[in-house]
Amino acid sequence: MTILSNAQLAELAGVDPWVLHAKIAVADPAQVESLAAAFYKAGGNMAQANTDQQRSATYRRQGYSADGTSPIDFDAEAKATVAAPENLKQIGKILDGVATDLSGAMSTAESEVSTLEQELSAIETRWTTFMQSIGHHLPPDDQAAERQGLIDEAVTRVKAHGSIIDASIKKYEETIFGAQKSMSDLGYVPPATLDDLYGDGAEYVKQLQETAKAAADKLKNNHSLDENWAKAAHEVAGEVAPYMNDPYFASAFYGELGPQMTQMLPSLMYESGSHTTAADLRTYSHMFGTAVTNAGKDSHMQDVADSFLHTPQEAATSWNRGAMVSNGDFPPDWLAKAARYNALDTFADKGAEGFGMGWQGTPNGSEAYDMGLSSDALALWTKDLGQNPVAAREALATMGNGHPDDVRIPADPSAAYHTNIHKLMEYGEQNGYPGDVSDAYGSAFAAASGANDEHDGAHSADAVAFTKALFNDMHDDNGLSQPNAAHYMAKIAGSYVQELAAGNDLEGTSVGGVDAHGLVPGDHAAFGVPPELAKEFMKTFAGNAEATQIFDSAAGEAAHHAMLAGAQQDTVLLHDGKSAYGFNTAAQAYGSVAGSENGAAIQVVGKQVEDEEHAQESMRKLLSWGVDLIPGGKIAEDVGGLVAKAPDTLWDIAKHVSNIGLEHEYGAAPGSAEQLAHFKDASYESAMASDYERTAILHDAGYPGTDHIPDELLTSDGHMVDAATVMKNEQLREAYYAYMHEGANAPQGSLGHGASVYEVTKNASGRFAAAYQGAKGNDEGVSE
């Protein structure tokens, strides 16, 4: 007979060590270790498989080609084959951690239960001994008193050991919870699919939501609004940051925080004197984006999201809401509507007057700037649109249409775009300092044009519609543009450089169509920009070195791509006995782009953009880049690398006006005094660098006659040594000079007149120069 059963002791103790032990005893840490090892091993296998596959693809690509290219789509093959070995190894690591904690929890439970049972056994023995010795002589009350004393002692032991086991299991459950989240982050059982789960899945979501609400309550229930509030806001930001992409967590947090507190959060943060507001706000805003996107995951979140879709009474509310939207990824329609309700529709109606007192959204500017934001509510919302291309187009096409909930882009949005672009740029000019407005509209325009998320030659119809309107508007409004918009405008121009090239033979100051017969090789322009309009657009960034470099980089790459496509096209045409024109077409198209850019620069900056000093500077840049970017000892292995590394420098040289007409001064015999004089001339140097690039492109295209290029100008795998290396090595320069003077100029059998390497580069240079001069205009950069 025992004094009490284990179940009775557990009930009295309020903790059941045996049930807890049973929960963990069924686990198998060895099996978890084995799973971890399997994932590690599979990760290693797949990493090796990927390496072998890449090697295989390289050999197979070189081993078989049809018309110069491999018929195998290696990219598609790689996509179909490549697994993610990193994920496999990561899972192995997660499981390793779980197995370690599990093992610890099991040992603790095992040991505690074992000790407990020994102690209970001893107590039982004491009771038996007591009853067998003196107990049975004592009255029942005395027996009961002794028994109760032993029971109390037993319960104390159960409670003590049970608590240790409980704590150990809770710690292990936290590990499980963390592992579950890590698996979710890797894409296994992502939160979005947890709706379909039950039991433990639902429990996981419930835990997330409870954690989120508890975090929100720390802000909601703290009414101090002093440094303690700021401290709490910072601590909560740290707590929620790991979950800011989780739909359940984010929506539960803001659902609990409520509409009013959510809208006031930015101003509460700076009013409390927080020094970490900028970083904290980025977290809160990011998580707000997740919450709005997943408003249906919490019963109160839709109310919070909808509260932003009302016209505010004053700029401060607009600004607070705009700050909450400054760093998140929001649904495009919601963002477009919010921008319209809070700023753009009032601006379309009232202009600079705004909500009656202008657009100043904070008591003083510095507080907003400390948060990395503009204090101008209109600028803030316009900048917010820069994060979302679809929302930017929707808002810019519909602002002021009288129905802020209707953000559908009309069939022909050009007039609306024209009106709204003009209004924003005009307001930007009125508020030239500190330039927040121009920074904001530049950001929104770049997003709307697709410059942030689309590729030139493959722009979406909506992005094209906006950009055509923007180009057309610049005929009238380029003078309104402010310095802070320059790099955005350069980025837009760089994203539409194929369209700038395609319009080389168009006239007028409006964008036009692309002639199917005059396509630039390799390009897929959606429309053409006449040189004069291109020049007007480029005035928005001309003279700004950083912005010019952004454009030059894109133009250099595009020009190289088109010239190579043209050379390849010509190689095929000549092979078929037809006249070649692709190389020349590309040269003319991009010569026009270069001329427009230089004409714009002359108008904005003045004549110094094309003087001798500039020629020397651009060559110094080329040569220094050659030194900086090509690892020592590997110069010969740098196959055409300079184009990829410094396309802006090569473009800068190509557009340099003083080289025009010098490209083919190869008349002097190699080694002559005349040749030496050429080499000392900076303009000649830059001309030669451009010419060398053209020859290298012809060589890469397999153009007939390039097989006579001297070996010293070739790398070990048959490409031409890059321009920087040649231009700083006198022997290589002389070798190239000699080739162009002699080998490149030799007739190429049946190729026909004008088709030798020398002639085709000369013609391309001429076409480049003619288009360049035509686009550039006179010495003042003005078209005549």
Partner: protein, 111 residues
């Protein structure tokens, strides 16, 4: 008619690497398939079953992926090897029909 070029040595090396990739991926698939746990390896505590489910889903996903990769690379190896054989046959045939190497060289240069 497309102008085809073969380098059968490189094709065969490519096939060998593809075979090796298929072998490694196959091992990965076998390892993952063979490691399925049963029962409650994580115990009967809160969240254990959900984690077990997530791990199982990852295991199955990657086993299928590795299996597909193995099959794809095995096919690529067979194709590359077959193309190399075909290339050798074509070269033999072309040489028999146009034995004058200098003519073939002229044609190539004319490209």
């Amino acid at each position: 008619m497309p102008d085809m070029e073969y380098n059968t040595g490189e094709l065969r090396t490519g096939a060998k690497h593809a075979d090796a990739a298929a072998e490694s991926a196959d091992q990965a698939a076998a390892t993952l398939k063979g490691s399925s746990g049963s029962g409650s390896p994580f115990g009967d505590v809160s969240g254990a079953s959900a984690l077990h489910g997530a791990v199982g889903s990852a295991q199955q996903h990657h086993a299928v992926g590795a299996d597909t990769a193995s099959k794809n690379m095995s096919t690529a190896a067979t194709r590359a090897s077959g193309t190399a054989d075909l290339g050798d046959d074509n070269t033999d045939e072309t040489t028999r029909l146009a034995p004058r190497a200098e003519q073939a060289g002229d044609v190539a240069k004319g490209m």
